[in-house]
């Protein structure tokens, strides 16, 4: 594969929870020493269940949440050392699409203004140029440019997600973090939006960090995948290798839990036995392009 566009090293995010006056605060290790790299032009899947830390990791990369420690190299530079001004400039290149198409768009703004806003913030172009760019973006994501004057509530969930994608693409980013970007959508709509994401990836040479819980989806669109469990990556590898030979007990349990479409397929549910593996075990190579913390 190519050179890494994004390299995350030993990323840590601890949330400290105060528990009243006289009790020691508890520490939640949401992201606990996570290391991975995403190559240029790749669709990299970061999967896990609720509370695994996958979304927090995604947000730490953009510094929407400040990580506790670690390094995040974007085009070879550690963005965690950037000043806030420099970071803001860098975010032109790193964008995010959120899960919920209802809460991530300001209901009081026209959707055209929502998509134009990043251009205004980054002082790109005069008004007519920005308007032309918005129209171009609407077309790019399969929306009617004339609908730019409407408000979010006038659109369906799938269309709103397209608006979120248009906003993310406004500044021509190299990396898009898709944080459960299609999870809230009906399957047929989901398939259309996924198709759009793949199509945009090819046309605009985008790199995706695809944060998701749906393994069936990840299996079919991602080149590589990292499985997170309780703040750690427990397995990482090329998608085909990882799905063919899941090695970590958690990955095995997770894959065996997916309902299968074939009513006659043999089903063997593997229950996770938390004592069957060492929580602190480091990732080690278990096959070609395949690592597991066993």
């Amino acid at each position: 594969m190519g050179t890494p566009l994004l390299e995350v090293r030993h990323l840590v995010k601890h949330f400290v929870r105060k528990q009243g006056l006289f009790r020691a605060p508890s520490v939640v290790k949401a992201v606990d020493n996570v290391t991975f790299a995403v190559d240029e032009g790749e669709m990299f899947g970061l999967v896990g269940e609720s509370g695994s830390g996958k979304s927090t990791a995604g947000r730490c990369i953009l510094r929407l949440i400040e990580p506790t420690s670690g390094e995040v190299f974007f085009r070879g530079e550690n963005v965690l050392q950037f000043s806030s001004e420099r970071m803001r400039m860098t975010r032109r290149d790193m964008q995010i699409v959120f899960q919920d198409p209802y809460s991530s768009l300001n209901p009081r703004m026209r959707v055209g203004d929502i998509v134009e806003e990043p251009l205004i913030i980054h002082r790109l172009g005069a008004k007519p140029e920005r308007r032309a760019r918005v129209a171009e973006l609407f077309e790019l994501v399969g929306l009617e440019p004339a609908h730019a004057l409407r408000y979010p509530h006038e659109f369906s969930g799938g269309q709103r997600q397209r608006i979120g994608i248009a906003r993310a693409l406004a500044l021509n980013p190299a990396l898009v973090i898709a944080d459960e970007a299609v999870s809230a959508l009906d399957v047929s709509i989901q398939a259309q939006v996924v198709k759009l994401l793949l199509d945009l990836k090819a046309r605009l040479k985008l790199t995706y960090l695809f944060v998701a819980h749906d393994l069936r989806l990840v299996e079919h669109i991602c080149t590589r995948v990292a499985v997170m469990y309780m703040g750690k990556i427990v397995e990482l590898g090329e998608t085909s290798a990882l799905f063919a030979r899941p090695t970590h007990p958690y990955t095995q349990a997770l894959l065996s839990a997916i309902p299968m479409l074939d009513p006659d397929a043999p089903r063997q549910r593997i229950e996770l036995d938390p004592t069957s593996f060492e929580r602190e075990a480091p990732l080690r190579e278990i096959g070609a392009q395949h690592w597991a913390a066993v």
Binding site: E49, S50, G157, D186, V187, S188, I189, Q190, A191, H213, D214, L215, R216, L217, E219, H220, I221, A253, L254, S256, A257, I258, P259, M260, L261, D262, P263, D264, R267, R269, L272
Partner: protein
């Protein structure tokens, strides 16, 4: 089932006991919300005792409205315009409201998608289970409390004597859904309608809840109307499947048949959209 709700109400069972007849028979059901197109349009299906029927469709297809219509829980302006709903020999649409209240919970119960909103946040879960028994006059207060512990045990919640005293926020999402199932089963209804029962859950928790539903179905010979958008869940759980699209039932058959050889275009497209099918 040894105690169908008719018996509990002291009424004789239907003359020809419903062994060969379907437990639930929905005929030509139509529902409108006052809009130009009906929300449910001439829908017919039936469920036998102990059978699982999967009702599958996307948002707005009318699958949940169908379930609410069966229980006559439609909110205004929703209104049934045509059709019959026969449950265990009785026409539910012709029942008086107090008779209908008896059917809900004791005859047909409902499991919702979102246990956090369906459970009362300021009531201990044990009391919520006991309440289901008390409103139907199925038990004294002390019996109801003992039954609550048994039911928590039946839905495999560890340490049930302690957990009955918990409030919903003290439980995980999977445990809350188990409590919902315990409430649904409290009066031993022959039919349970489960509306997206695992959609809000993580996939490993979903697997456990589905497994539990399968076990309870076998143990109590429950019939299940399983409403979902997930064909994978259908393939794992259902005997037959009905596909809804824009208020209409577009396909209906055995799970194997429908998954292998979908005959309606919409079903084909829906199956093709499932990531596993690409």
């Amino acid at each position: 089932m040894n105690e169908p709700f008719d018996e509990a109400r002291g009424k004789p069972l239907n003359q020809t006991p419903a062994r060969d007849k379907p437990l639930l028979d929905v005929q030509h059901l139509s529902v409108t919300f006052g809009g130009p197109t009906p929300a449910v349009d001439d829908v017919s299906f039936s469920i036998a005792r102990g059978e699982t029927l999967g009702l599958v469709g996307e948002s707005g297809s009318g699958k949940s409205v169908t379930a609410f219509s069966i229980l006559r829980l439609l909110q205004s302006p929703g209104r049934i315009t045509a059709g019959r709903v026969v449950f265990d020999g009785r026409d539910l649409l012709a029942l008086a409201e107090d008779e209908m209240r008896e059917v809900r919970g004791a005859g047909i119960s409902l499991i919702f998608q979102e246990p956090m909103t369906a459970l009362n946040p300021v009531m201990r879960v044990g009391d919520q289970i006991a309440e289901a028994l008390l409103v139907h006059g199925k038990a004294s207060r002390a019996e109801a409390r003992a039954r609550a512990v048994e039911l928590l045990e039946a839905v495999k919640i560890g340490d049930p004597t302690r957990r009955v005293r918990d409030y919903p926020h003290q439980l995980s999402g999977g445990m809350r859904q188990r409590v919902m199932i315990a409430i649904a089963l409290a009066c031993r209804p022959p039919l349970v309608i489960a509306d997206e029962p695992t959609t809000a859950l993580d996939v490993t928790i979903q697997a456990q809840v589905l497994e539990l539903l399968r076990e309870l179905k076998a143990r109590y010979n429950l019939a299940l109307l399983l409403i979902t958008h997930d064909f994978g869940v259908i393939a794992e759980m259902a005997d037959r499947v009905a596909v809804m699209y824009q208020g209409r039932l577009v396909e209906h058959g055995s799970v194997r048949e429908v998954l292998r050889r979908p005959s309606h275009n919409y079903t084909r497209n829906l199956l093709a959209a499932v990531p596993g099918a690409w």
